[in-house]
Every structure is written in structure tokens, then in C-alpha cells.
């Protein structure tokens, strides 16, 4: 393996379709793929394993290319003071890539380990790095392309399109404070998280309660459905003026708006889930001596859970939207506010910095919800495919 020339490494690195990558792409299938791999180690041809090892170096190669571009291609955009942050980041990636790749070579092949195994976290993190090496490399190359298009070749005009260097620098500079006495990104993140979580929990709790009521009790359905039909489709963001007037307090009105945005899809999906519970589950429960509470909370609600999660995901998406819009009105901190504020000053590096944080932030929250879903709906394993 170490006998591989650099040419092979590059060739392998640029080859995106690796044997293992499909398994790594969806974490739900990971364990099955792992079991299959453990069950039949001899079935994997040694050549494939070897190439899998070489791909581990792909991020290193990509980082080296990006670093070389940043170092030696002359700057096209005029900037006051070039920083060292972006090249340092690339250097860290490069070194980390080498370390991970070498570990991979030494251990032959890192497999995902059961979580109760000692050092499972390290092993699994390494495996993740190796398994997603092509994607990481592509990401680094994308950074390189961004650098080329903006700072290096100046193909796009400056105030609107700063390079990665400037954006990363802004991320660091504005972390504690954005200047002019305004809150920094860290405070914006906590503020946004507080708004999002409080609104989301209130909205989804009320959504599940309303959905179960409307789905189960005909009287609640008679009175509730017209309200749902009228209020539900109105975008929560259109109610901003009303919310501000009703609550006076911008934070409270933002929470209310987010809750409203989450409430509608969760209610809809919960009520359809409850109404579509297989009648035979209810029949069986009744012959087992179940009362109404058991039928609602132990049969209808769990049976509706897959649906409820669809509603929770839809609600999460609209809660992000509502959060960003609502923060632009009245609230004095938060990622949405930060973008609005930076745009007013034409400081587009700040805008992109906030976008990067938002992407990382929201996708983490989304991932967490997926984790919760996988945990709660473990009984559906093999049924859910999203």
C-alpha cells in the first residue's frame, strides 16, 4: 500500500465513486453494511480495500491544491490586509488529512465499532473521515474555486463577493462583538437558538395536542377543522404586524410566530395520523380491556408517530424561515437580525459569515431531529427510507 505512487493517489482521489461510499452516505444503512462486511470479510477483494485506503488521502491532496492556489496565484481583488486565517485552515486540513490517512494505512481498515466498545468514538470519527473523504475533498476544492473566482481572478465585483479569506476573518472578528456595540455572532447564535427552540417546542406541543384532539374527538373536529383551514395556510410571516401589535414585546411575538408556523403542519399531520390508525389496532386494544386513555395515548399516538415526525420536519423548515424573517423585525440580536444589519452596511463578508453559521447550525438541528426520529421510530426500522 505505501508503495502507491503519488500519481495513483491523485487518480484515486479524483475518483468519487468509491466502493464504500454508498454505505457511508446514509448513516441508517451503516450498521447493516457493517454487519455484511463483518459477516463476509473474504468477499471483499483486497484490491478494493487498497483503493479505499488511498482515497483517505483525497482531502489532503485537495487542501494542498487549494493552498498552492492561495499562495502562488496573484490577488486580483484589492483588499486592505490579507489575513492568514484561510491558509491556516487549509494547512490544518492538510495535516489532519495526512494523519487520518496514515492511521488508516496503519490500521489497515477502520470499521465502525459498536458504541459500547472503548474508544468507539475515536474509531467511528476516523471511519467517518475516511468514508466521507471524497465529499470532504470536494468541499475543499469548492473553497479553492471560491477563492479563485473572488480574491484571485476577481471575476465578480468586490463589495458583494468577498473571498473565503475575508469571510473567515469576519467569523473570527465578529465572534464576540460585531463592533458598534452590537452583539457578536456567539450572542446571535444563542439568541436565535432560544427563539427557535421555545417557539418550536411550544408549537409542536400544541400541534400534537390539537392534532390528537381533532383526530380523535368528532366534536373537536367539527369546530377545529374550519379554524385549521382558515388560519393554517396563512404564512406566519404575514402575521408579523399583528404579532407585534398583540404582544408589544418583539421576542415574545417572534416566539409566537415560530410556534404558529410549526403548529400548523404538526397539527395537520398528527390529526391525519390519528384518524388513519388501523382500526384493527384499536379493536385489539379494546378486546384487551383498554379504556379511552389507553386507546389515545398508547395506540393512536404511537401509531401516528411516523406522521407526526413528518409534521415535525416540515415545521422545523418553516420555523427556520419564520425565525430569520421575524428576527429582522424588532429583535436586537440573532442570526436573521445580523444578516439584516450587515446588509444595511453593505458588509457582505458578514452576510456570508452568518450564512455559513446558519447552514451549519440549522443542519445540525435537523440532524439532531433525525437522530431523535431514528431513536423514537426504531420499531419502524426497515420501513422508513428518509
Amino acid at each position: 500500500m505505501p508503495a502507491h505512487g503519488i500519481a495513483t493517489l491523485v487518480a484515486d482521489a479524483t475518483q468519487p465513486a468509491d466502493v464504500e461510499s454508498p454505505a457511508a452516505a446514509s448513516p441508517a444503512q451503516n450498521s447493516q453494511a457493517d454487519r455484511a462486511a463483518v459477516a463476509a470479510p473474504a468477499a471483499t477483494p483486497p484490491g478494493k480495500v487498497a483503493r479505499f485506503g488511498a482515497v483517505a488521502f483525497a482531502p489532503t491532496v485537495a487542501a494542498a491544491i487549494a493552498l498552492a492556489v492561495h499562495r502562488w496565484v496573484p490577488n486580483g481583488q484589492k483588499i486592505d490586509q490579507p489575513t492568514r486565517l484561510y491558509p491556516r485552515l487549509l494547512l490544518i486540513l492538510l495535516v489532519a488529512g495526512v494523519v487520518v490517512g496514515l492511521t488508516q494505512q496503519l490500521w489497515r481498515r477502520i470499521k465502525p465499532t459498536p458504541w459500547n466498545f472503548p474508544l468507539a468514538f475515536v474509531s467511528n470519527a476516523l471511519h467517518w473521515c475516511v468514508a466521507s473523504a471524497p465529499v470532504l475533498a470536494a468541499g475543499i476544492l469548492l473553497l479553492c474555486a471560491w477563492d479563485l473566482v473572488t480574491l484571485k481572478l476577481a471575476l465578480v465585483p468586490l463589495p458583494y463577493f468577498p473571498g473565503p479569506d475575508a469571510v473567515f476573518q469576519t467569523l473570527v472578528n465578529d465572534w464576540a462583538s460585531s463592533g458598534q456595540g452590537q452583539p457578536g455572532l456567539a450572542e446571535c447564535m444563542t439568541s436565535s437558538l432560544f427563539l427557535l427552540l421555545s417557539g418550536y417546542f411550544v408549537g409542536s406541543f400544541l400541534g400534537v395536542v390539537c392534532g390528537v384532539m381533532i383526530g380523535w374527538f368528532p366534536a373537536a373536529r367539527y369546530w377545529g377543522v374550519p379554524v385549521m383551514k382558515l388560519v393554517g395556510p396563512v404564512p406566519a410571516t404575514a402575521l408579523i404586524p399583528m404579532a407585534l401589535m398583540l404582544f408589544r414585546n418583539p421576542t415574545l411575538s417572534a416566539v409566537w410566530l415560530i410556534a404558529l408556523a410549526v403548529w400548523f403542519p404538526v397539527t395537520m399531520l398528527t390529526l391525519s395520523g390519528v384518524m388513519n390508525v388501523r382500526a384493527s389496532y384499536l379493536d385489539v386494544a379494546r378486546t384487551l380491556g383498554a379504556g379511552r386513555a389507553y386507546l389515545i395515548f398508547r395506540v393512536a399516538l404511537p401509531a401516528a408517530l411516523p406522521n407526526i415526525f413528518v409534521g415535525l420536519f416540515m415545521g422545523l423548515g418553516s420555523s427556520f424561515l419564520t425565525l430569520v424573517v421575524a428576527e429582522g423585525v424588532g429583535v436586537q440580536a440573532g442570526l436573521g437580525w445580523y444578516i439584516d444589519w450587515a446588509r444595511a452596511y453593505s458588509d457582505y463578508a458578514k452576510v456570508y459569515a452568518a450564512l455559513i453559521i446558519m447552514a451549519a447550525y440549522f443542519s445540525t438541528i435537523m440532524t439532531l431531529l433525525f437522530r431523535v426520529r431514528d431513536h423514537v421510530l426504531v420499531w419502524q426500522k426497515g420501513v422508513i427510507k428518509w
Binding site: 384493527s280 389496532y281 379493536d283 380491556g289 383498554a290 395506540v299 420499531w379 426500522k381
Partner: protein, 284 residues
């Protein structure tokens, strides 16, 4: 060939008459009585469907009776009425001295589809009857007994989607039995199983029946299954669903599936069903 009034038409034994004459066996609530019950549905197209017409039937405590007949003869309807899941259009249903007004834990029901709660493990599925009645704390120890009874201890923590059809049906049986029902209503419980699993499960159900003395009412369209398992066979005919004839099965237990008596009875029932199916429209 008058419907309903044929309830007394048995294959002529004093044994059966005596059993029917005793209103209560060992336990009052274990016997079932169906008196002139009819059930009409309104079909989605507005037509009035006579699912069951003037049926009368008595099942003594501890008896194993099967309802046999082609689809549409109302056997599942009758079972749902007995379970209390549906109300009859006319007539009365009694469990012992108590009129059947709704579902009760005294009368367990097992469907063709095991209908296990997919969100609960095997153990929790079996527990669900205890949880529903709020007696889990006192009776939790019995859950393990029932797991052992149906031979599913190794799968106690598995989810239903991980079970085979036969295993799932055994869990469904254990779930119905955990409440110690006086009556077990079985709606084609073995219908979806392959022939081998099915025969093994028949023996298993018989073993449970012998061990627990539960009254069992078994809906099936498998005549062999009915003869193999039951004390009496209730033949039903469709359109409208009614009881055609009640046959006493007097073969020694354990029964041999290929003994001459078994085969003779089988031929007789087939003849009866065939005959009934052909002549019913004519006689109406």
C-alpha cells in the same frame, strides 16, 4: 332448509344435547349464547347487506367450536359481535349470565393478521393487556410465563417487524391469553401461515386449550383444521349469512389427520357445503 331454525340439527348425539342443556359449565362467563342475532350493514353503494340472518348458537364452557363456511357467510361478523366490537341489528348475545354490550378483557380476540402493535417489543406487546387494565404491577411476573408458553423468550426484546409470521401469531395468542380470558375468539388465526407452521400452530393452540380450559371459538375455512381441532363444527352459508348445520366431531383426541373417520367426516362436510351452496338460491 330453513335458516336459523337449524340450530338443533346436529349429527345426533346425546352428548351434545346434554352439553347444550347445561346453561353453565364450570364457569358461567365461559359459555356463549347467541339468540336470534341478525346483522345488517349498509354497503358503500347504499345497498342493505344481510351479513347475518337470525342466528342462534350455544357454546358450552371449555368447548372448542369452529365456524366454517365460504367467505361472506358471516362467520367473522358473528365473531366480532361476540367480541363486542359490533352491535347486532337484532337479537341478543350472552356471555354466561351477562349480556354482551361491548368489548371485554374476558373475551380475547385473535385476528388472521396478528395485529401486533409494531411500536412495542414482543414482551411489551404481551404486557399490553395488563397495562390496559392497569394491573401490570401485580401481574408482571406472568408475562415471562406467557413468553415461555409460546416459546418466544429469546425474542422478548425484538420488534414485530423482526418476527416471522408464525412467531408473530404466537405473540398475538400470548397477548390475548395474558388477561386469562374466559373465551378466546380466533378469527382465522392460522390462515396466513404456511402448511407446516400451520399444523404446528394447531397443535400449539390445542395444547393451550387443554392446559387452560378456555372456551374457544375458531373461525376458519380450512375444514381439516376444524375437524382436527374442534368439538363441534358450525357450518355457515352465505347470502344471507346463516347457520346451516352443526356437526359433532366425536373422534378420539389426539386426532389422526388421515384416519378413515377423519376423512369420512371431511367428505361429509364438503358435500354439505357444496350441496348447500348449490341449493340455497333455489330454495329461496
Amino acid at each position: 332448509m330453513v335458516s336459523g331454525t337449524l340450530k338443533g340439527t346436529t349429527n345426533g348425539t346425546s352428548n351434545n344435547a346434554a352439553r347444550q342443556a347445561t346453561p353453565a359449565g364450570r364457569d358461567d362467563a365461559s359459555s356463549l349464547r347467541v339468540v336470534d342475532v341478525a346483522k345488517h350493514f349498509v354497503a358503500p353503494d347504499g345497498a342493505d347487506v344481510h351479513a347475518l340472518e337470525k342466528c342462534s348458537l350455544s357454546v358450552a364452557a371449555g368447548e372448542m367450536v369452529s365456524l366454517v363456511g365460504p367467505s361472506g357467510c358471516g362467520k367473522s361478523t358473528l365473531l366480532r359481535l361476540l367480541a363486542g366490537l359490533d352491535r347486532p341489528s337484532s337479537g341478543e348475545l350472552w356471555a354466561g349470565a351477562e349480556r354482551i354490550e361491548g368489548p371485554s378483557a374476558q373475551r380475547g380476540l385473535v385476528f388472521q393478521d396478528p395485529n401486533l402493535f409494531p411500536w412495542l417489543t414482543v414482551r411489551k406487546n404481551i404486557q399490553s393487556g395488563l397495562v390496559a387494565r392497569g394491573v401490570l404491577r401485580e401481574r408482571r411476573h406472568e408475562v415471562e410465563d406467557f413468553l415461555r408458553l409460546v416459546g418466544l423468550e429469546p425474542f422478548a426484546n425484538a420488534y414485530p417487524h423482526q418476527l416471522s409470521g408464525g412467531m408473530a401469531q404466537r405473540v398475538a395468542l400470548a397477548r390475548a391469553l395474558v388477561n386469562h380470558p374466559k373465551v378466546l375468539l380466533l378469527d382465522e388465526p392460522l390462515g396466513a401461515l404456511d402448511a407446516f407452521t400451520r399444523m404446528r400452530m394447531q397443535d400449539e393452540v390445542l395444547r393451550l386449550w387443554r392446559a387452560r380450559g378456555t372456551t374457544m371459538l375458531l373461525v376458519t375455512h380450512d375444514i381439516d383444521e376444524a375437524i382436527y381441532m374442534c368439538d363441534r363444527i358450525v357450518l355457515m352459508t352465505p347470502r344471507p349469512g346463516r347457520i346451516e348445520r352443526i356437526i359433532d366431531v366425536q373422534l378420539e383426541r389426539p386426532r389422526q389427520r388421515n384416519s378413515p373417520d377423519f376423512l369420512a367426516l371431511r367428505a361429509e362436510i364438503l358435500e354439505e357445503l357444496h350441496f348447500a351452496g348449490r341449493s340455497a338460491p333455489v330454495s329461496r
